[in-house]
């Protein structure tokens, strides 16, 4: 296991470097540069470029950047003056993470329950309900979902606040809006997977052992059915935790999503890179956890020696 983890770690680092390199090159070849505006004269621009080191050749810039990264420095934003990329992430990520965790908890737990119930009651009303929820969840875009929730719960009924992020009641609507899609995906996948497991021979064996239906579901079906859902979760978890532009904008939450999108619009080189590296790391870590989960759930994919 230790060997496997080390191997994975090495691969992750390589992946991360490839990611950095590709993004570094890609942002630079985009047309335009960060320093455009009415007030920026050629002299100011030259000064700024000298300040950020853009006057040096690209490979030099690249190695400087990577060197700083190894020291844990993401550099300074080019648009938000005097703020380091590290600061921006440190300030905004906790909001995105908090919202993401709530959304994930809600969507994964409810998604699994819906999927299991639907499969157990195939063809009945409960199944139909779950299928409808899944279709709605996958087909309604999140900005419509968010606006709809705001309108109904915030404006029509006046139950919940529609913006900002100041306490528990502020988190409810954005969590639902953010998690609904994942909920739908999880429930759909779990339903399909459960239906497959239900018809397996070992379920009949379990029945012939004289154990209760609840125990069959709990001990024999869920564990065998959950694999596809776990596979899907790696990227979903990473994407949800690092913030989404749309939901954060609609609910005025100061999370990472806004910065990420704006950094690209502004061609804020260091911020784009910093955010991408951060997102990449979260993604790699999430997938790594998923791989470990595989081994715990299914003994057949436990890897090399113990």
């Amino acid at each position: 296991m230790a060997k496997y983890i080390l191997k994975r770690l090495a691969v992750s680092i390589v992946t991360l470097f490839v990611l950095i390199t590709v993004v570094f090159v890609l942002v630079r070849v985009m047309p335009g540069d960060p320093f455009t505006g009415e007030k920026i004269t050629p002299e100011i621009k030259a000064n700024l470029e000298a300040y950020y080191g853009f006057d040096k050749p690209l490979p030099v810039q690249y190695f400087t950047y990577v060197g700083n990264l190894l020291k844990g420095e993401f550099g300074y934003s080019m648009k938000f003056m005097n703020r380091s990329v590290g600061d921006i992430i440190a300030l905004s990520f906790p909001y995105s993470f908090d919202l993401g965790m709530r959304a994930l908890t809600l969507s994964i737990s409810l998604g699994l329950i819906f999927g299991i119930l639907a499969a157990r009651n195939r063809g009945k009303k409960l199944d139909l309900f779950c299928v409808v929820v899944a279709i709605l969840g996958t087909s309604i875009p999140d900005f419509i979902m968010g606006a709809l929730l705001q309108y109904v719960f915030g404006i029509e009924w006046g139950l919940l606040p529609v913006a900002q992020y100041l306490g528990f009641q502020y988190t409810i609507l954005p969590s639902i809006a953010l998690g609904f899609y994942t909920l739908a995906m999880v429930s759909r996948m779990m339903r399909a997977s459960m239906l497959e497991v239900i018809s397996q021979d070992y379920i009949k064996t379990a029945k012939s052992d004289g154990i209760s239906n609840l125990r069959i579901v709990w001990r024999h079906q869920i564990r065998n059915a959950i694999m596809p859902v776990v596979t899907m979760l790696g990227p979903v978890v990473a994407a949800t935790l690092t913030g989404t532009f749309v939901i954060e904008s609609i609910f005025a939450i100061p999370g990472m999503g806004k910065y990420y999108v704006e950094s690209v619009q502004n061609l804020d080189y260091s911020l784009v890179l910093g955010m991408t590296v951060f997102f990449g790391s979260v993604m790699i870590f999430a997938n790594f956890l998923v791989d470990i989960l595989y081994g715990i759930i299914d003994p057949r994919i436990r890897l090399g020696g113990k």
């Binding site: 021979d201 064996t205 052992d209 004289g210 239906n213 024999h220 564990r223």
Partner: protein, 335 residues
């Protein structure tokens, strides 16, 4: 009907509702099983033997399946009317079930030991320690070596033969009075099959368990069973002691089965004789004898009316018009 009969099945009729109509899988099957004996149910694919076996533990999915009529009595208690909760007490502890394919019949994500102990899950009166002891003991009995280690292993770490041993252990751990073995050796290779059959025979002697053995292999029947029930088209066509079935064959279908078994004592030039044709369509089973369409001895009456059971000798029954006193004397061709 003897006093010692453990399980008595009478006129069992079980069907499935499908989109294409109602499939009459089992049509009025009656037989009984006495304590400690081995009853074989033999017949080709789709003759209703597995459905019959699964009816005994109510393992057929309902719906689409449903009991039309008949009764299954275990120790004089009716099974068919029992609720799922009541059935749980019987499954595993009173009647064990060994499935056909050990590769797919064990839960891949559960340790061997835990799977065997599942049988005790609905019996909180048995302590954890005792459960483990009994699981270990039964694993030893079914001939698994290095039991403590196997107990902690997962199915994929075992060979096919071992898995079937585990399945047998699982069926026997509750010390049931009947074990139903549904083609337990069909998916194993021949040497392993012989081992498993020997094991079943040995265990039966040691534990005194009655076995209902379902197979399409007459060789297995000869080796293991006391009595045989031959099924065709959802009905029993012949039943009796093994030697009666083999040497005093009453039904042309049984005869056909016997003729299609390869034999070592015949010269190479003698070809196996297959039974021509296909089994009847159980969506609309024939009014007469289900085998009439494929039977070389079929008479007019065979197609028009279902033959009753004739007793050929004590305990040897045959549902064939040829056994009617007025029927012409016919010698079934044997090779």
């Amino acid at each position: 009907m003897s006093e010692s009969s453990l399980l008595k099945i009478e006129d069992l009729t079980f069907s499935f509702r499908t989109y294409g109509g109602v499939v009459k899988a089992v049509r009025g099957v009656s037989f009984e099983v006495n304590a400690g004996e081995t009853v074989g149910i033999v017949g080709e694919s789709g003759c209703g033997k597995s459905v019959t076996a699964q009816c005994i533990l109510k393992l057929n999915p309902e719906p689409p399946g449903f009991f039309e009529k008949g009764s299954i009595q275990y120790h004089g208690e009716e099974i068919i009317t029992k609720s799922d909760k009541e059935m749980r007490k019987i499954r595993g502890m009173e009647i064990g079930f060994i499935f056909q394919d050990p590769m797919t019949s064990l839960n891949p994500t559960m340790r061997i030991g835990k799977q065997i102990e599942e049988v005790f899950a609905s019996h909180p009166e048995i302590s954890k320690k005792e459960r483990k002891e009994r699981a270990i003991e039964i694993l030893k009995m079914v001939g698994i070596n290095d039991v403590e280690r196997r107990y902690m292993q997962y199915p994929h770490e075992l060979s096919g033969g071992m898995k079937q041993r585990v399945m047998i252990a699982r069926a026997l751990v509750g010390n049931p009075s009947i074990v139903i073995a549904d083609e337990p050796t069909t998916s194993l290779d021949v040497t392993i099959e012989a081992q498993i059959l020997d094991l079943l025979k040995k265990l039966q002697k040691e534990l005194g368990t009655a076995i209902i053995f379902i197979t399409h292999d007459l060789g297995v029947i000869a080796k293991l069973c006391d009595r045989v029930v031959v099924m065709y088209g959802g009905k029993i066509v012949e039943s009796g002691m093994v030697r009666d079935i083999f040497y005093q064959t009453g039904h042309p279908y049984t005869n056909g089965l016997l003729n299609s078994v390869p034999r070592l004592d015949l010269s190479r030039d003698v070809k196996l004789v297959p039974i021509q044709g296909t089994p009847p369509d159980l969506f609309s089973p024939p009014v007469g004898c289900p085998f009439a369409a494929r039977c070389e001895y079929a008479m007019k009456v065979c197609r028009e009316e279902m033959p009753p059971e004739f007793e050929l000798s004590e305990g040897h029954y045959c549902a064939c018009w040829l056994r009617h006193p007025n029927a012409p004397e016919i010698q079934l061709t044997r090779f």
